[in-house]
């Protein structure tokens, strides 16, 4: 998996980052500056709509995801099987629409090496959840 850079905006006053980019900060009447954030994050919550509005097919999977750096965004996903609140997911933008996908153990391992030395705690927790997943014999999501 290649981590995609997601287009965002940053408020020069409060440093808040929003996705997708916006002209003004929701909390300050000032223009925002362009920024990018890595397309990796955690599931804040998710739902499956069984009678979605016009233009969408049932079942419609929608997730709210918090990216590294704090910005949250809505995403569509292929499925929610194996997904939990707090699951690590990759986010990519296709034709201007955000999609999430569960990160496979291989993806997580790659992240592990990329980040080794960056943040001890995060690395430890990735290792831990990887080990836990393997131990319980759960099949990882296909990243």
């Amino acid at each position: 998996m290649i981590v995609q850079a997601i287009g965002a905006s940053r408020c020069p006053r409060c440093e808040r980052i929003v996705v997708p980019g916006a002209r003004y900060c929701p909390d300050h009447p000032v223009a925002m500056e362009p920024a990018t954030v890595p397309g990796i994050g955690e599931i804040v919550s998710f739902t499956t709509l069984h009678s979605p509005p016009e233009g969408f097919k049932a079942p419609l999977h929608i997730a709210l995801i918090e990216l590294e750096g704090g910005a949250r965004l809505f995403c569509h996903g292929q499925e929610t099987r194996g997904i939990r609140i707090g699951s690590r997911v990759g986010v990519e933008s296709l034709d201007g629409v955000f999609y999430f996908s569960h990160m496979s153990y291989a993806d997580r391992a790659r992240l592990f090496w990329r980040r080794a030395g960056a943040g001890g705690e995060k690395v430890a927790s990735i290792t831990k959840s990887l080990a836990k997943g393997l131990f319980q014999g759960r099949s990882g999501g296909e990243g």
Partner: protein
Amino acid sequence: MTRFGRRDESLPDLIAEAGLAALRDAGLERPDALVVAAMNPEEFTGAGNYGSLIGTHFGLAQVPSVRVETATSSGVAAVYAGFAAIGAGLHRSVLVVGGEKMSHLPTPRVSEIIGRSIDPHERTYGTTMPALAGLITRAAMHSRGLTLREMSQVSVKNHDNAARNPFAHFRERVTLEAVMESRLVADPLRLYHCCPISDGAAALVLTDERAPVRIAGIGQGTDTMAVRYRSELTSFLATQAAAQVAYGMAGFGPERVELAEIHDAFSPFELISLEDTGLMPTGKAGRATLDGETALDGRLPVNTSGGLKARGHPLAATGIAQIVELCWQLRGMAEGRQVSARVALAQSIGGLATNNWVTLLEARP
């Protein structure tokens, strides 16, 4: 107010029915001003300029009128506008009316129109109100320990109360099993956790004269239109801010409240809102509901009217209908469901908790 439910009358006729009943009750023929709440009358009925339309419809064409809108909390926003006008000395009496007529349209069309109160970007992901409520419910189950049984009991209780209210949309009771096994709408939310599509109108008269019930406090709270801009998903900052203003104005806190009408458009919202208003300690509202504390004969009866879930939710009528129910209760006029209370609280949610209100009412001795 009118009976809520599927109604054949036009929206102006429904509003006139409620408005004339309120004027009669107040012994008033012509108020100094008219405030009209309507959320989406253009889309639902094709008519606009609603302040003037309503004034002309039932003989108040020469009375100054305005229309007020804050999505699903429009009714209370109209009460606030009337309250402020009287407080400022602009008028001595104000008729506040609100209503919605939507059951004549197919459900997907109604959902789409109501959904226009959601952030436009988020709507492109198919996020209807039930979808966002489903996200919030799942997060609350994860982080606050909310259970399916607790939120289902809210629906059971509110249907029980509505069975005693002749103005309610639903008069049938439902069992806990029926709620828990109803079809999934937006996982984990099920059909019987969601309010129905109702027609109806409600009205009240505000006056600077001594009346049997007074508004002790009224507060507004707002939050971002975009749910993705919020760091907190399982409580509504807009309710907390509104409650703080209302309690501040009243000079007392939640400990004096003996009765409440809460915005249960989705039954978990009743539990979240009971905690946001300080009426229940954080994380305790579900257990309290299962223990019967919020039932008609409980320590703090909640939604004696049946709430949005069972009395029904004709959008702009709802905030006014909540206050009408509390006034009837405080005046001893809630036949068949009367409780004993002197101080009551109404809480109303606009949009996905973008524009919320808390009102405190007190019976005069």
